[in-house]
């Protein structure tokens, strides 16, 4: 029997979402964690991707490059734009056909819309927004189970969830929680075209119009430099200063939940447990106290600089470097010195 | 939605100690009572040290204790602590008269007690409307016939309105029952912390035999850094409540911040060990009206009665406020009932409210203690010199081993007179006596 570890390959009009690659990486880790069981039982384990869309063959090829052995591809004009019902029915059909052991979906807007419906349709367990996934023993159960770890209660508690009697064991993961695996352009794998009939009943909802946002260009999750503002800014105007520093460093603007809740900046900029997970090379936290639900979203950044007037602020616990001072003084001075350095080396 | 106007027999503004009591008494006598409370629930805007007094509670509900009220420890030990900057003299009493049955005072938490007290009023038939602010009155022929609230379609009618709005008595002012806003020299800001400490540690540190014993302490001296005010300590079941209250003008003049006072108190060498390893559970502040008789508004007018903090009904020295509020609330409720029987809601008819309070401790004590808050302000030596002197005097007395006692007494005497000439000290004591006797 083949043990299937599935990843939903999310795509938006022919472009694969990077989270799919990240999850393929995770799925391969999970497979390696059951190597001992496979040896003992003689079974095989595979990482496979599920792709639903229309005219998206290139995405299937792309997904193979990130570690999928096989892609199950459902193509139909009905799938051109994401809609909950047809996608849910298609995935349910495939799950019932192939009976995967594990099914991972990215916790994007689309993924969170889709995963709950699929899990309910199949009547299995789903753990959302996981920060850690591994195959491990649970009680006296023979086979290892998917141990899905996620922060709870705003990040104050780390809980590990299992789904012991139902398959597939499902989990959603926010983008950038896991690293992108290395892309192998030479990867060889199968693409299997699966047929699925979309009935008119499934198309009760239709896309009428799509309007892009100016925040489309934000791409917070994959930015290399992020400068974030929080409650310490005091008002929305403070984000002008944050933007200045971000521009100076070649980065984008992020925000804590407090600033978004205060209406100072759009939710698209929110970093944290209920916002975006980021892991830039440089993260600058300005006037952010560092509540756990924010920390959870940025603590994997390579280098973290925090600026805060309170030397006891929790943000300093996850930072690489901290400056204790007023951001309205420190940031202009920092910009000044950075420009001077640029000028000197120009 | 009903377009009939909202009409009740009595409207009570505020579901605190006074308001819920007035409502309960009036409802008990069959009147249709609505209590309009601005907080999310009764008690959400209230805060105190503090202790509730049994006499007032059982006066309203004779079976009070059978109802299993949410109370903290009974006050089985009480008195004064005098703090010098590094010393402490305890003058407390326990047993004897204090050990009555039931105990005369219980430590309580307003966030738990007020909702319960309001529920008792609801059980009598009162209707409580929370999350709604009364911000004005409805008039007919110059008489109050109801209130306006901040909600759409928010007019409510009643021939008698009992104002129990608390220390920030904007409605009382609006009616012209008092001609000024709250005065900073007559209003104290009290700040406190509740520090969670295991019950057995509280017992060990304060010398209480078990969880059924508790303390209510008035703290004088270093706690207010020479400003007119007092500190306090109350024992809850698993926490200590420590705080200090100082008049607003003293805070303004001195530039000292309230949390600085509190922090200093908690760090005092005799206090710090009591709260060692405790967890700060709660931090809050509230205004206390301390003008008493001098800032008391007119207590009634056509269609209106005023009770509780809104009427400055507080005796600061004796920490009496909640019982005054309950007692006045009861009398206001009874007065409203009588007015309905007579069908007369005029000022003259309602004036019996003031008469009744004059027969009770409420107005009698307010009159007697009318000079007390001014006294404290004009005699700062009671906040610094005398507590320090008491510490020094007793300290020296009890460590005078081997000293010729004549010299010892001279030294003790000088420790007073070097700070305050004797005749002035005597004058102070007389002034203190006068301020509490009321002459």
């Amino acid at each position: 029997m083949t043990r299937r570890f599935w990843v939903f390959i999310e795509q938006n009009h022919g472009e694969m979402h990077p989270v799919a690659a990240e999850l393929l990486g995770v799925a391969n880790c999970l497979v390696s964690e059951v190597a001992d069981e496979l040896k003992a039982s003689g079974e095989e384990a595979v990482v496979e991707g599920i792709l639903v869309g229309h005219d998206v063959d290139n995405v299937a090829k792309e997904a193979l490059m990130y570690g999928a052995e096989r892609i199950y591809h459902v193509d139909d004009p009905a799938f051109e734009h994401y809609l909950n019902r047809p996608y849910t029915e298609a995935l349910t059909h495939l799950v019932e056909k192939y009976k995967p052991e594990v099914f991972l979906i990215g916790a994007t807007t689309l993924g969170r819309d889709l995963a709950g419906a699929v899990a309910t349709s199949i009547k299995t367990g789903l753990t959302a927004d996981c920060t850690k996934l591994e195959m491990g023993p649970f009680r006296k159960i023979e086979k290892k189970l998917l141990l899905a770890t996620r922060p709870a209660f705003g990040g104050n508690v780390i809980a590990t969830i299992v789904c012991k009697d139902h398959t597939p064991q499902m989990a959603t993961v926010r983008p950038r929680v896991f690293e992108t695996p290395v892309r192998n352009p030479k990867a060889k794998g199968e693409i299997i075209q699966e047929s699925f009939e979309v009935t008119p009943e499934m198309m009760a909802a239709q896309l009428v119009e799509f309007i892009t946002d100016q925040t489309t260009n934000l791409n917070l999750e994959y930015a290399e430099v992020i400068v974030s503002g929080g409650k310490g800014l005091g008002n929305s105007k403070g984000f002008e200063l944050i933007k200045e520093l971000a521009d100076e460093l070649g980065g984008v603007v992020g925000s804590s939940r407090a600033a978004v809740d205060g209406g100072w900046i759009d939710y698209a900029h929110q970093v944290g447990q209920t916002g975006k997970h980021v892991r830039p090379k440089l993260y600058v936290a300005c006037g952010i106290s560092g509540a756990i639900q924010h920390k959870v979203g940025m603590q994997d950044s390579d280098y973290i600089l925090a600026i805060n007037t309170d030397p006891q602020a929790p943000i300093f616990e996850v930072s690489t470097l901290g400056v204790v001072g007023d951001l309205y003084e420190v940031i202009p001075e920092m910009i000044k010195q950075l420009r001077a350095q640029k000028g000197a080396s120009a | 939605m009903s377009k009939d106007k909202l009409q009740y027999d009595v409207i009570v503004v505020g579901a605190g100690m006074a308001g819920s009591t007035a409502a309960a008494i009036a409802a008990r006598e069959g009147l249709n009572v609505a209590v309009i409370e601005r907080g999310v629930k009764p008690g959400s805007k209230n805060y105190f040290g503090g202790a509730l007094y049994t006499h007032a509670l059982v006066d309203i509900y004779p079976d009070f204790f059978d109802r299993k009220p949410p109370l903290e420890r009974p006050v089985t030990e009480t008195g004064f602590w005098f703090l010098s900057d590094d010393g402490l003299v305890k003058a407390t009493v326990q047993g004897g008269v204090v050990n009555s049955d039931p105990i005369d005072a219980y430590v309580a938490l307003r966030a738990e007690f007020d909702p319960w007290w309001a529920e008792q009023a609801v059980a009598e038939g009162a209707f409580i409307i929370p999350k709604t602010l009364v911000n004005d009155f409805l008039y007919e022929d110059g008489k109050v016939v109801g209130v306006k609230t901040d909600r759409p379609e928010g007019d409510v009618y009643a021939p008698v309105v009992i104002i129990c709005e608390g220390v920030n008595n904007l409605l009382t002012q609006k009616l012209g029952l008092i001609d000024h806003d709250i005065k900073i020299s007559k209003t104290a800001l009290a700040v406190k912390q509740m520090i969670s400490i295991p019950a057995k540690d509280i017992n060990a540190r304060l010398g209480l035999p078990d969880n059924n014993h508790g303390m209510a302490i008035s703290v004088m001296g270093d706690v207010s850094m020479g400003l007119a005010g007092l500190g306090f300590l109350y024992t809850a079941k698993g926490a200590l409540s420590l705080g200090v209250g100082v008049t607003l003008d003293a805070l303004q003049e001195s530039g000292i911040k309230p949390y600085e006072l509190l922090q200093r108190y908690l760090e005092h060498p005799a206090i710090a060990p009591l709260i060692k390893d405790g967890q700060m559970m709660e931090y809050g502040a509230h205004l206390i009206p301390e003008g008493g008789w001098t800032t008391m508004p007119r207590l009634y007018t056509d269609g209106v009665l005023v009770a509780g903090d809104a009427a400055s009904m507080v005796n600061a020295l004796h920490w009496e406020g909640t019982n005054m509020a309950i007692t006045a609330g009861k009398q206001a409720g009874l007065t409203a009932v009588e007015a309905h029987k007579k069908g007369d809601f005029s000022a003259k008819s309602l004036s019996t409210y003031q008469d009744k309070l004059s027969d009770l401790f409420v107005l009698q004590d307010m009159k007697q203690y009318r000079k007390f808050s001014a006294f404290l302000k004009n005699h700062p030596q009671f906040m610094d010199i005398y507590p320090t002197f008491i510490n020094d005097a007793l300290g020296m007395f009890f460590t005078g081993f081997g000293k010729p006692k004549r010299k010892l007494y001279k030294d003790i005497f000088r420790s007073l007179t070097s700070r305050r000439p004797l005749f002035k000290a005597i004058g102070d004591i007389i002034a203190f006596g006068r301020s509490i006797i009321g002459i």
Binding site: A115, K123, N156, V157, E209, K281, S319, L321 | L6, A111
Partner: protein, 279 residues
């Protein structure tokens, strides 16, 4: 007459959570229970449309008896009927079991009076999974539109609604046949300040209480712990980090502190390379 239904949840106010270091569980004492904020906005939106179109608004919740308070808030905002589905048998339900309980209750209500649009809040602030809305929708066979920020139109006669949905890349306008289900963002409607008569009505209103047997006979194997495929294997506190090296402006002066900070940052090769790319 249009019939709208909102499914709500009473949650602890998680913005100020404290965890008991000994038991690892949340200290519930002193933490107020509130109507889930996203659900509140969903109710506000439903109430607006009920008034606009002339119709009825029902709210349901699965919860303990205390959840009555959350339902009262919904009546205050304009709901006409509130149903509390409460039974010990439901305790320990994960999202699959919860969606079963709610779906069957909604099905029952629909039998008596056809429902045109079911609202959910985007997610509950305690669980944050956003799974129940989609779960109920699929069980009831309803088309689902999540992350709704605006309802442009509800046309009862022709049987469709126009919903604006917000995604990472922009806004979608979805036309869906009715009946349908939506999950709402806060932007969908402002919470109104209820009129005094509405508030009084809500204070006097007693929600209907449904059990696991009446009026819906639930399959016990699909509710509670027994009906929940997922369970908590373990929980604990997050790992501690090594604290940052801090430079104080007070001690070093503004220029000095920033200079020292930049020096430290540039001594990290990765950051230096990044900043060099900016030159």
């Amino acid at each position: 007459m249009i019939h709208l239904l909102v499914s709500v949840k009473q949650v602890p106010d998680t913005t100020n959570i404290r965890i008991d270091p000994e038991t690892g569980s949340m200290i519930r004492k002193g933490v107020p229970a509130i109507l889930n904020p996203y659900d509140a906005h969903a109710v506000a939106s439903a109430a607006e449309w009920k008034k606009k179109l002339g119709g009825k608004l029902t709210v349901v919740t699965m919860g303990p008896p205390a959840a009555e308070e959350a339902l009262q808030e919904c009546i205050e905002m304009g709901a006409d009927r509130a149903v509390l589905i409460s039974d010990r048998a439901f305790a320990g339900s994960d999202t699959l079991a919860t969606s079963y309980v709610l779906a069957e209750a909604i099905r029952k209500i629909d039998q008596e009076d056809h429902i045109d649009l079911v609202f959910f809040g985007k997610q509950a602030i305690d669980g944050d999974t956003a799974q129940v809305g989609p779960g109920v929708a699929i069980r009831l066979g309803l088309p689902l539109v999540t992350y709704a920020v605006e309802i442009q139109d509800v046309n009862e006669e022709e049987g469709f609604a126009l919903i604006v949905r917000k995604t990472e890349s922009g806004k979608e306008i979805i036309k869906t046949k009715l009946p349908a289900a939506i999950t709402a963002e806060k932007a969908i409607a402002d919470i109104p300040y209820a009129s005094l008569p509405d508030l009084i009505t809500s204070l006097k209103y007693k929600p209907e209480v449904w059990s696991a047997q009446e009026p819906v006979a639930y399959d016990i194997d699909q509710v509670g712990l027994g009906g929940s495929p997922t369970m908590v294997a373990k929980s604990g506190s997050p790992e501690a980090h090594e604290p940052a090296e801090t430079i104080s402006v007070e001690e070093n002066g503004l220029a000095g502190a920033v200079k020292a900070a930049l020096e430290k940052m540039l001594s990290n090769t990765s950051v230096a390379a990044l900043l060099e790319d900016q030159q």
